[in-house]
Amino acid sequence: MAKKGDVVIQIEKCKGCEVCISACPHEVLAMSEEVNSKGYHYAVKVNSACTGCANCAVVCPDAVITVYREK
């Protein structure tokens, strides 16, 4: 079984570009209904299928995402 991972999204830093969404192989991420203080929809986790592959974090232009993966 794939290892379990998790992401932490700094929502105030997110600019809502959506580049991370399609980079995730497990459709873990989607855009929020709410907006942050700058008025951007931000990336949110919508399921617990994250494997900690870091794809989303690598392509995020604003370094918004931190990734964890079980050892």
Partner: protein, 255 residues
């Protein structure tokens, strides 16, 4: 749930923003490749453990404020002159790792002479060239790199090669010069591409230590704001239109 919470502790950390980037919020537009290109270069510097020995030269263009974001010694050059400034720095401090970070307007228009001559002299520097086919900062004017038929504010009906010349593949031109050692073209719009870019930048910095000559890494990138597309659309447009003309991969590799 408890499992998931427990995951978020330091020993499970696999990816966070490198310390070679400061905590400042980037001024770039949403989805702009400059941010990812900065981070790949910063991670390459981090991986090699050379943060204290690296000096960067920022350009004029959207990345004019790069010195706010890289936590290394940096200076700012007049438009297009970064390779000349980097030449001076490297010659005075040959033990340092010296890079320039430049857009296509900066490097391939106003700075063409400095670019070509630094490369021809084989200056022992890394040139990072972010090609988005447009003058991003000033509002989307045509650049030498603008594709045929591509619209910009100064080619509103599309670039007509008869009157405006053909788009300039300056990277292929540079690769002809004996002074260049390693020349490659990459992108940062997908995880796999971004990782390749980082590997190329790392290799280039390693060659600099070995005093091999100029290393030149182009990053074909987007400008969602001036291309007037969403970031995701711009990346798709880039794949469909920029990559056929500016193919990714190695252009000159050490023999």
């Amino acid at each position: 749930m408890i499992m998931a919470e427990n995951l978020k502790n330091p020993e499970n950390l696999v990816y966070e923003k490198t310390k070679v980037l400061t905590d400042r919020v980037l001024h770039y537009c949403p989805g702009c490749g400059h941010g990812t290109a900065h981070r790949m270069l910063a991670e390459a510097i981090d991986d090699l453990g050379i943060q204290e020995e690296t000096i960067g030269v920022a350009p004029v263009g959207c990345s004019v404020l790069a010195y706010y974001y890289f936590d290394v010694d940096m200076t700012e050059a007049a438009h297009g002159r970064a390779p000349a400034v980097a030449t001076g720095i490297k010659r005075v401090m040959p033990e340092k790792y010296v890079f320039t970070y430049q857009g296509d307007g900066d490097l391939a228009a106003i700075g063409t002479a400095e670019t070509i001559h630094a490369c021809n002299r084989g200056e022992n520097i890394l040139i990072v060239f972010v090609n988005n086919g447009i003058y991003g900062m000033t509002g989307g004017q045509m650049a030498p790199t603008t594709l045929e038929n591509m619209k910009s504010t100064t080619s509103p009906r599309g670039r007509d090669v008869k009157t405006m010349g053909a788009p300039l593949k300056i990277t292929e031109l540079i690769a002809q010069l004996p002074g260049t050692y390693y020349v490659a073209r990459h992108s940062v719009h997908t995880p796999a591409n971004a990782r390749k870019t980082k590997r190329a930048l790392k290799k280039a910095l390693e060659y600099q230590k070995e005093e091999k000559g100029t290393c030149f890494i182009e990053v074909v990138s987007n400008c969602p704001s001036n291309w007037k597309m969403t970031p995701v659309e711009s990346n798709k447009w880039m794949e469909e239109n920029m990559f056929p003309f500016y193919p990714l991969g190695d252009i000159k590799v050490p023999q």
